[in-house]
């Protein structure tokens, strides 16, 4: 080990930096002040970028889309990654959030004070989406796997069809002229909030329940996990943030119609989750960022892009079905107690392995 290190250090400076990082990674990765500093810098940047036009408007909008997609991917990851179910109905929850919040800002709240009521509208969108998730959560008590996937898909179609049939909310034409209330600080705030809440949920008692459902539902019921409550919570949390993302999305695009939230949108979110890695918050962030940027880079290809995207999904499933991070987590998102437990467990395992070998 020592030998290799010396050789590479002589090779180039870049390698020596890499080796330094490798050797001190534990110290850096567990350094919480860096994380909080990053948050402060990011929040300051999210104010500074639109204020001083540090990058052009196009890139600003892409950055906001990345934020929204991170919320979507992380929230879908609760159900698809941590709980091990297969939901294809995320666009439906997004549509609920988008419609509820836009109707609120358009018709209920005074438009001159829209920016003050905007957080309220976003929360309302999320809450209604969470309530609607009962439609999916209740059948999930009895069915799982393929049938649950079907229920979520049927849910997307039902939402789309309902919206198309209600003339009062625009019917198939959708809603136009929504105020542009989504700003970069708001996107940053909601992204960080969703990551924080979801991370804390996963490492909470309920989160353990969600993980145990992925491994074996009957066994986890035997271990006195309240499976119904757990499923209900997971779906509600997942759809709450989908609704939030939908609300942000509607106030960024300023136009929504039932066609925006079809199965293609659901598939986009699925690709982000499975590209980044299931059961990993860092993976969702990575997947959402890579996918959004990739789609923008490939924009000159036009329609051809839509052919490449599904192919990417198929190849991903064949060659790396768990995605980039696949059930692994960046240390920043793991609570320090958890890390210590894992470390202790590894050490004990090493001792017992050595004992059993001798």
């Amino acid at each position: 080990m020592k030998m290799i290190k010396v050789e590479t250090e002589e090779k180039s400076k870049a390698w020596s930096v890499a080796w330094y990082l490798r050797d001190h990674w534990e110290a850096i990765a567990n350094n919480k002040p860096i994380l909080s500093m990053l948050l402060v810098v990011g929040f300051a940047l999210s104010f500074a970028i639109p204020q001083f036009n540090l990058v052009n408007t196009y890139i600003q909008i892409i950055i906001m889309y990345i934020g929204i997609n991170i919320i979507l991917a992380t929230s879908l990851n609760i159900v698809n990654g941590y709980m091990g179910e297969f939901s294809v109905g995320h666009a439906g929850f997004m549509a609920v959030g988008a419609y509820v919040s836009s109707l609120l800002t358009l018709h209920v709240f005074p438009s001159s004070l829209g920016f003050l009521f905007f957080p309220l509208a976003v929360i309302a969108g999320g809450v209604v989406a969470a309530l609607v998730s009962l439609i999916v959560a209740i059948p999930s008590f009895k069915t799982r796997g393929d049938y649950l996937a079907l229920i979520t898909l049927a849910f997307t179609f039902i939402v789309k069809s309902l919206i198309e049939n209600i003339e009062a909310i625009g019917g198939p034409r959708g809603i136009v002229g929504i105020d542009k209330l989504t700003t970069m600080p708001w996107v940053f705030f909601w992204t960080v909030l969703s990551l924080w809440v979801i991370r804390n949920f996963i490492y909470s008692n309920y989160g353990r329940g969600v993980l145990s459902l992925r491994e074996d539902e009957i066994a986890s019921r035997l271990m006195s996990v309240n499976t119904r409550q757990t499923k209900f919570l997971a779906f509600a949390l997942s759809s709450f943030f989908a609704g939030v993302a939908g609300a942000l999305f509607a106030h960024l695009l300023q136009y929504i119609s039932p066609r925006v939230f079809d199965t293609v949108k659901s598939c986009d979110i699925l690709v982000m989750v499975y590209l980044g890695g299931i059961g990993s918050i860092a993976g969702s962030i990575l997947g959402a960022t890579i996918y959004t940027v990739l789609l923008e880079i490939l924009r000159p290809l036009g329609m051809f892009r839509m052919v490449l995207m599904p192919l990417l999904l198929v190849f991903l499933m064949i060659f790396r079905p768990r995605g980039i991070m696949g059930l692994r987590e960046l240390r920043w998102f793991v609570p320090i107690q958890e890390l210590n437990v894992v470390k202790r467990w590894r050490r004990r395992k090493k001792v017992t392995d050595a004992n059993s070998a001798s």
Binding site: N80, G145, L153, S161, E164, C267, M303, V307, L311, L313
Partner: protein, 290 residues
Amino acid sequence: MYAVQQFINILQLGSIYGLIALGYTMVYGIIRLINFAHGDLFMVAAFISYILAVYLKLPFIPTLLISVVFVAMLGMSIERLAYKPLRQAPRVSVVITALGVGLFLENFVLLFYPYPQVVPTLLPTINWNLGGVTVSFLHVLIVGLALLLMLILDLIVNRTMVGMAMRAISWNKTIVPLMGVSVDKIISITFILGTGLAAIAGVMYSQAFSTIDPYMGILIGWQAFICAVIGGIGNIRGAILGAFILAAVQILVVTFLPSTYRDFITFTLLLVFLAFRPYGILGKPPIEKV
């Protein structure tokens, strides 16, 4: 008389749904995979018949045969290239792959035909007027062909060695190879049969409704899938029963309510069935082993 006319429409729609639903139910029965690409293969068949009819000016029977052979081969190659490497993978990966393949087919056709196309009528338009009820040659052909194919399929599955192997694989996939049955070959045959039936449905649909577009496979595929679920997925007779039930419900909805409610009612029906009787009318509840 109006009721009889609607009944004929139900028979026609139910036959088309039934042909597609059979493919879903066979594939699900044998490898427990919801083949999301199935509806899109139906769409590809419609487009191939369009290409053959418009550019090569072929008559009906060659068009039908070439479309069916091509799409059956396409279905088999999709199975070989995309699903076979994932035989041992978690089920979710295969379902996602199927979704990806479906999207790929849609968008690939969309590259060439971004707008809905009108298929020329290849069959003689003969209408019989039976006391106020109009029955066309196409109605008779679609219903007759569908019933004949369903009968043949039922015979294949229940009376031949291949059918026996299919049922055996559906029963237990690990023991069957030990009995000298080539599982891969049987799965390929299942895909050929299933997608071939969907292709016939595609050509018939394009003749009956004349407008085709790249995204039509999604909705019709889903409706056919709902038929399979209603009847009890994995059960061939159930799929046919479900197809006629769903067709009846849809035609009745369109008769009594605005037509925009059709999808809403259809998918609510699916949700109700999944919540209360997920194994369908003729299916048996699965026994979960711990």
